[in-house]
């Protein structure tokens, strides 16, 4: 396969563009929506610094659990008591019950997709890309009721994307290749976070290998070129 972004071509450097704390916290507290959790877990796979932060937020949860007061009846913070001897015996009786084996972990044989994405879409090499817009192909990763679907996109190396406005927040995790815009360079592991009111966004795709990114968009992009606007409206890009 010729257009496989080779993650080994740039040795796995920790990323420079990170997730906002708000999303790391949402992940650690289990309050993130499914698309955001997928984005966060994928970034964390590639970013030791954010992994450390998320682990800290999880440790706060562990601390809150540990510090909860249990009274002599086995109740927490004055609530109903739990786990009397009967309940404990019932629990112990279930310990050796036969159970289904845990599913084997699946990984991308080419090391392009983090495991949380592989669990959704399979191996990178088997993805079925569909044309989305000039220079751009996509694979739907997850439906998002009321929003654009979560997508993987693949953009031709060296492409210059048509200028566009953002009408909602866009979060993109670069998985291969990259792009540059007014903010900076974005490469594997980086998160590009575009605010909802960003106008005239111009992205240039880096040369050599296709840019592959996981994109979570709250609202459609609005292209300046009327023809492109029509295309994106029809496609819901």
């Amino acid at each position: 396969m010729t257009d496989l972004p080779d993650p080994t071509s740039s040795p796995s450097q920790p990323p420079e563009h990170h997730l906002p704390d708000e999303l790391l916290l949402a992940y650690a507290t289990g309050t993130a929506s499914a698309p955001i959790a997928l984005l966060v877990a994928s970034h964390l796979t590639l970013c030791p610094a954010c992994r450390e932060k998320a682990a800290t937020y999880e440790a706060v949860g562990g601390a809150l659990l540990a510090e909860a007061a249990i009274d002599t009846r086995g109740a927490v913070d004055g609530g109903e008591p739990t786990l009397d001897d009967g309940a404990l015996d019932a629990l112990l009786a279930r310990l050796d019950a036969p159970r289904e084996p845990e599913p084997e972990p699946v990984y991308d044989p080419d090391g392009v997709l983090p495991a949380p994405l592989v669990r959704r879409v399979g191996a990178f090499r088997d993805l079925r890309w569909r044309w989305l817009a000039p220079d751009t192909h996509g694979v739907k990763v997850m439906d998002r009721p009321g929003h654009l679907p979560v997508r993987l996109v693949r953009i031709r190396p060296g492409a210059v994307l048509p200028p566009h406005d953002h009408t909602g927040v866009e979060r993109a995790l670069i998985l291969g290749g990259g792009w540059s815009d007014e903010v900076g360079h974005f490469e594997r592991g980086d998160v590009a976070y575009v605010e909802a009111d960003r106008t005239d966004h111009r992205q240039v795709i880096l040369d050599a290998v296709p840019c592959v990114a996981l994109v979570v968009n709250d609202a459609p992009l609005r292209c300046h070129n009327p023809l492109m606007r029509l295309v994106t409206r029809v496609l819901g890009v």
Partner: protein
């Protein structure tokens, strides 16, 4: 691990860590009995904040406890303390309940994982020392911030929802959460400094 030079320098494992390790190594039922007495009420307290269905909560508690028994051999105290590990398992059960979609978890064995460089500080110690201080840190927060943090962890709602419940505009909520997180992180950073 800096400055301590030996695994023992991680500090004495807590009682919960020791129980989990015994279960993982020997399938020790007495250890599980003790673990259940400590953990089940807390897990229940955690889960019942986000559900009013007592029967459902009881099922989830049993489920979490069985998961602790089955997966104890994967518990690694160098990655997270016992309580943090238990918290993540209880949290995951809650997510499974709320969300139909498969959960998205980082897999630390993923070949695609980018590891921290050899010079990166091992923060597991400072992180876990946070535990004894988290109460203090939370109590030091203004009440409104504290409520937002606790609600975010225990009630399964986002801080935006927590703020709306208090009748706060999202902007105000956001700045409160930021302040609260900053305060918590400062406590942590302080501990990290002292610990090395």
């Amino acid at each position: 691990m800096r400055g301590t030079g030996s695994p023992a320098g991680r500090g004495a494992p807590t009682e919960i860590d020791a129980l989990l390790l015994r279960i993982g190594a020997d399938r020790d039922r007495e250890a599980f009995r003790q673990l259940a007495r400590e953990a089940a009420p807390r897990v229940r307290g955690y889960l019942r904040r986000s559900s009013r269905d007592d029967a459902q909560v009881d099922d989830l508690v049993q489920d979490v406890m069985l998961t602790l028994w089955r997966r104890a051999e994967t518990f690694d105290p160098s990655r997270a303390s016992g309580w943090t590990w238990i918290y993540t398992i209880a949290r995951n059960r809650r997510i499974d309940l709320v969300r139909k979609a498969a959960r998205a978890d980082v897999d630390l064995d993923d070949p695609a994982l980018v590891r921290a460089g050899p010079d990166a500080p091992d923060r597991a110690v400072g992180r876990e020392r946070l535990r004894s201080h988290v109460r203090d840190a939370l109590e030091a927060l203004p009440e409104a911030q504290r409520e937002v943090v606790v609600a975010t962890y225990f009630e399964g709602i986002t801080f935006r929802e927590a703020a709306e419940r208090q009748g706060l505009p999202v902007g105000t909520a956001k700045s409160r959460m930021r302040l609260a997180l900053k305060a918590l992180r400062e406590v942590l950073a302080h501990l990290g400094e002292g610990g090395r």
